[in-house]
């Protein structure tokens, strides 16, 4: 699956989930429609989004993206605003899992690539081949979690879990005996 690849560069580390969507906006019970709240907690966040390419679907940021709270609303708001990937040298664990479960690819690349990627207007990203083609003709390979890649591309986390119920019950029964 290929992305449009228009980049929203955010030259910051440690973008926490309070910045992605602040707590006072977590009062709903639906997972859609949160795009309007994206980056409302980030200093300068609204201006950043206003300046973004209308088809921007990739964020490039520095390390530890998505740290802090477990709120899946962070992934929901990114997804709802049209973002399909975040490229960063590292992600906080809970956000990393949430992103996979909501069609937002958490793409880990070495820190040395970030300067170049922050400067790119458009990248060619193929989530199936796990490659980023850069404007200078180079290719960066990344690795997605092979199990979660399936949830990323097709959804189905809950269906996967539902299928495991008999096995889990069996495991539990064996443990009890």
């Amino acid at each position: 699956m290929k992305l449009a690849g228009y980049v929203l560069p955010i030259d910051r580390a440690d973008i926490d989930t309070d910045q992605i969507i602040p707590a006072h906006l977590l009062t709903g019970v639906e997972t859609t429609g949160l795009g309007e709240h994206l980056f409302k907690g980030m200093p300068g966040g609204r201006e950043l989004l206003e300046g973004a390419h209308p088809q921007a679907d990739v964020i490039v940021a520095r390390e530890n993206f998505g740290c802090g709270s477990s709120r899946e609303h962070a992934a929901w708001s990114l997804r709802d605003r049209g973002f399909r990937a975040v490229i960063a040298p590292s992600f906080a664990r809970i956000f990393h899992e949430n992103a996979y479960n909501n069609g937002v690819a958490p793409i880990v690349v070495a820190a040395e690539h970030i300067d170049g990627l922050l400067g790119a207007e458009r990248l060619h990203i193929d989530l199936i081949d796990e490659t980023i083609a850069t404007p200078d003709g180079g290719t960066i390979h990344f690795t997605l979690d092979p199990l979660r890649k399936q949830f990323l591309l097709e959804g189905g986390y809950m269906e996967f879990m539902a299928k495991r119920i008999p096995r889990v019950r069996g495991w539990l029964a064996a443990k009890a005996s």
Binding site: A23, L26, N98, M158
Partner: protein
């Protein structure tokens, strides 16, 4: 092969190895609160026939916005409540509730060796009991409610050995901030921190919870304290724990939950904390801290300084404050309130000060000791239990540019209100600062009664 404590707990819960180094990990207990649970409960209701793997393993706790502040949060609460009732899930509703990480242990829902998950990053608090307790997203929680399991990458294990007794004035909060400063704000990402050493052994369960509460602030999946007699005596007689023989049988089993000697770790750190002094954050993440006696560091990041309205070299003690807050899952248990009350007894606060007990049970216990009188005599606001000002979601929001000293765990930009500035510290430091109106330690306060004496 000798195993770490975490290895043992992990292996006892792996149902199935999955591709890509993932594992299907059984969850013994799910804690559900009203902000992150409803969407998952609705998903199961809409697509999977409203069934749960085992409602008896779930506990619902009304916590973040308690009581509801508007229609939307009332709907969240109603969905949680109706769902709990429908499935016979134990629920701690408004009036018998509090912050889930405070209520769950005080009611005995967590125990050594268990796996426990909740849609809240500070679930790591409960690692203090020697449980694998971790925060997860709503989808992962829904999956666990449906199928009893999480999909996890096996975390690495970082061993942190703390040696020495805490000196007078140093608290578990200072210890937590110190550890984060040592290993870095993201230094334990994808790791479980296994604590050990004489310091841990000397800490009460409240203190261990304060320490483990902030494991996530170094990126850790959770913190883990080896269970010992302190753990067992805390749990003995708790509401959800068995009594008599049955409890003692569990204790015998828990006593075996120890790291093997010779266990290997991804990394090991030993810290002598006997000289620890109070610590306060100056920046915009919990790793950006300095000793209370210190200054804003010379290598402070420009972005943090700008947000916090600070310059390098400024003494922390000189910083004027607009609000003080004592509460949150880090520091709102009875021992924390006692520490704050010891400072405030006979004194007056000079800035708006909010004291929020971590649970209604803590509130009642504090009132039986007269702590509510101490706080209110000092001029502080004594509230019901809730997350309160901690996350700028319900009450106690601070204005842009306002500076708040807080016993909470996060000082991210906007955490307690858009543009607000948060300094993290222990309850005693928050209380002393509330009296003086600037960041201060209890030793700076005039003896109680001295002020009146000098006036006369």
């Amino acid at each position: 092969m000798p195993q770490s404590l975490f290895d043992k707990i992990w292996e006892a819960h792996v149902v199935e190895e999955l591709p890509g180094g993932n594992a299907l990990v059984f969850v013994d207990r799910i804690v559900a609160h009203e902000i992150t649970t409803p969407a998952g409960a609705l998903e199961i209701q809409r697509n999977f026939g409203d069934v749960l793997f085992d409602p008896k393993r779930i506990v619902a706790i009304y916590d973040h916005v308690s009581p509801a502040k508007d229609t939307e949060t009332a709907i969240q609460g109603k969905i949680l409540r109706d769902w709990a009732k429908r499935h016979g899930i134990a629920m701690h509703d408004i009036g018998q509730n509090g912050i889930c990480h405070v209520v769950a242990p005080e009611r005995g829902y967590v125990e050594p060796g268990m796996s426990l998950a909740c849609g809240d990053s500070h679930t790591c608090t409960l690692g203090a009991f020697g449980a694998f307790a971790l925060g997860i997203g709503t989808t992962a929680q829904a999956g666990a409610m449906l199928a009893g399991c999480l999909i996890l990458q096996r975390p690495k294990v970082m061993k942190i050995t703390l040696e020495g007794r805490l000196a007078h004035g140093a608290t578990a909060k200072d210890l937590a901030l110190y550890v984060i400063a040592q290993i870095g704000f993201k230094g334990a990402t994808n790791h479980v921190i296994e604590y050990g050493g004489s310091t841990i052994e000397s800490l009460s369960m409240d203190e261990r919870m304060t320490l483990c509460n902030m494991a996530i602030e170094s990126g850790a999946t959770t913190g883990l304290c080896p269970p010992d007699e302190t753990t067992f005596s805390y749990l003995r007689g708790r509401e959800r724990q068995p009594t008599g023989e049955a409890f003692e049988r569990n204790v015998a089993r828990w006593r075996t939950l120890r790291a093997d000697s010779g266990a290997t770790y991804a990394s090991e750190i030993v810290l002598d904390v006997s000289g620890l002094r109070p610590i306060v954050t100056w920046g915009t993440n919990p790793g950006e801290s300095a000793p209370l006696d210190g200054t804003v560091p010379a290598d402070a990041s420009a972005a943090s300084l700008e947000y916090m309205g600070l310059t390098r070299g400024t003494p922390l003690r000189s910083l004027g404050l607009d609000q003080a807050f004592i509460g949150s899952c880090t520091n709102s248990r009875l021992s924390d309130l006692r520490a704050a009350a010891d400072v405030l007894r006979g004194r007056k606060v000079t800035i708006p000060t909010i004291v929020t007990p971590g649970s209604q049970a803590v509130k009642r216990a504090a009132e039986r000791e007269g702590l509510h009188d101490v706080f209110q005599d000092a001029g502080a606001l004594w509230t019901h239990s809730s997350c309160g000002p901690c996350l700028g979601m319900s009450m106690g929001v601070i204005a842009p540019g306002a500076r708040c000293i807080s016993s909470t765990n996060r000082n991210f930009p906007g955490r307690m209100g858009a543009g607000g500035r948060v300094h993290l510290a222990s309850p005693a430091v928050v209380a002393a600062s509330a009296v003086l109106g600037h960041i201060a330690g209890p030793e700076e306060l005039a003896p109680v009664g001295a002020a009146e004496a000098s006036v006369r």
